[in-house]
Amino acid sequence: MKGLTTIYRRELASLFLAPLAWILLGVSLLLNGWAFVATLKSTGGDITYTLRIANGGSLFNWAVQIFLPPLLTMRMISEEARNGLLEFLQTSPVSDGAVVVGKFLAAWSFMAIFWLSGLAYALSLQLLGHPPDWPPVLGAYIGLLLVSGLFCSIGLFTSSITSAPVLAAFCALMGSVGILSLPWLVRLFEVPWLSDGVGAVDIMSSFDRSFLIGVLDTKVLVFFIAWTFFFTFLATRAVEAKRWR
């Protein structure tokens, strides 16, 4: 556990030491802030709708979910394997699982910090005397975290099986887009026998139907947690397998 905490602290510090993280945070927050104000103005002060847009109810949020986790995770394993740092970690008294989970938690924490802006808007409205409807706001935040966690785990997995960070990011991007667009593709090509199964992995619909209205559906929670665990597990096995190559 101590090793995991050590890895997590270093990775998180490393993310904030890199200019990329600050640029991504700055640009995204700027765009999000601008969208928030613009929506608030255009709806004539509809707080509920504006907060819904700011907390995951827009395509901008899905674009962030697709692009940001791969950019955060792409270097975490592939580059360390290339420059020998993974060898350093794998000869230190810390398990491969702790290395991978520590890295995952760092990327996920970064995303959690990133999504705090939505809560900040809600909080500022509360302080200004316009209390928002908190359950959907908090539900959306939890939903955003779960989606980010899944995409971070996919990014970490692709980073563990490729030798170039850019390739890892591209594969993660493709994986994330693939998962999001699967239900749409099934509908497009009318494959009835697949629609039931694919419906269960319809992330965008689940998000809209559950988290955005402040409902925490156990089925959806289990779905995200299970798949995040699965990809993190695969990444751990891939790191372990590097010893045998």
Binding site: K2, S14, L17, L85, E87, F88, T91, S92, S95, R243
Partner: protein
């Protein structure tokens, strides 16, 4: 302290380490030699618990490197050839990270980090970003990282590669200073380093043990002949016969006459310059050179790397193991 028993490591069809066995006792400083691609790094990686062996087993400080990997990792300081360090961190942050990985308390880290940095001579660079350090300084920081947990065993893979002669001298002095407190295994193909630092050497070639013993033993038994070189003004004949009559002389090779000077190699087990000098004085020869040529580790290494037997023609068939009872 370190035991390797019939270690074998394959990468597909390629056998990188082939049935390698050796033992290193506590407090020994051992040079691990071999030409490029001989299997040095692979062996050290197996000992450090990074690579599993395909066959055989290894133990460090009484713990099996595969089954008790964590126990081994807590007892070793391993510096890989690439000197892996986080470039975005400051020197002391890198050491702090290593200290935390090894479970050192805050007080221990506070005490040990400056001490180790001072020891490797980079205390004044403690707040410098690792990425801004020169190769030599990075090497020193790498050593500091390996030394921080005060490991029983230090495994150093090519610690002086890529350094200039002055930096190499610095690292050599540093390693000499470590010999009293740690069991050290150093791989290198820069022989002066090994000659200066390691009393014992293990030489591998093509993944197999080629020689194992103290430098003196190996040079005496495998390193080729030692001889007195004599160069005199060529006049008259029968010099070689007179030299052969000296007690202790094994063989005299006449190197011929060049520029009016005649050269001889007087082969013998011990330095016989005094006896040869006395003969020269007695016979009134005019001397230009009288010197003792001792076989070096470099010659021994070259013979093994080129797989030459005594006649320097055919490849050596069997590993040469001094400790196991002399040259085969």
């Amino acid at each position: 302290m370190i035991t390797a028993q019939n270690l074998t490591r394959r990468f597909g069809q390629f056998v990188a380490v082939d049935d390698l066995s050796f033992q290193i006792d506590r407090g020994e400083v051992v040079g691990f030699l071999g030409p490029n691609g001989a299997g040095k790094t692979t062996t050290l990686r197996i000992l450090a618990g990074f690579l599993p062996a395909s066959a055989g087993h290894a133990s460090v400080a009484g713990h099996d490197v595969l089954r008790e990997s964590m126990a081994v990792r807590r007892r070793i300081g391993y510096l890989a050839e690439s000197v892996p360090l986080y470039r975005e961190h400051r020197v002391e942050e890198m050491l702090d990270f290593q200290g935390r990985l090894h479970g050192l308390s805050r007080n221990e880290r506070r005490a040990r980090i400056p001490a180790v940095l001072d020891r490797v001579g980079v205390l004044d660079r403690r707040t410098t970003l690792v990425g801004h350090l020169s190769r030599g300084l990075r090497q020193r920081v790498g050593l500091a990282v390996a030394l921080l947990p005060d490991p029983e065993v230090l495994i150093l893979d090519e610690p002086t590669s890529g350094l200039d002669p002055l930096q190499r001298m610095g690292v050599r002095t540093l390693i000499q200073g470590l010999a009293d407190e740690h069991t050290v295994i150093i791989s290198s193909h820069i022989l002066p380093e090994i000659e200066a630092v390691c009393p014992r050497v293990i030489i591998i070639n093509r993944g197999r043990l080629a020689a194992d013993g103290t430098q003196e033993e190996l040079i005496r038994t495998l390193g080729g002949a030692s001889y007195v070189r004599l160069e005199i003004v060529a006049q008259g004949a029968g010099h070689a016969d007179l030299l052969r009559q000296l007690p202790g002389v094994l063989e005299v090779i006449d190197d011929g006459v060049e520029d009016g000077l005649q050269a001889f190699e007087v082969h013998c087990d011990v330095d016989m310059r005094r006896e040869v000098g006395a003969l020269v004085a007695r016979e009134g020869w005019t001397v230009r050179e009288l010197s003792w040529r001792k076989a070096t580790l470099e010659e021994l290494f070259a013979r093994i790397a080129l797989e030459l037997d005594d006649s320097h023609e055919a490849p050596a068939a069997e590993p040469l193991d001094v400790e196991a009872g002399g040259a085969a």
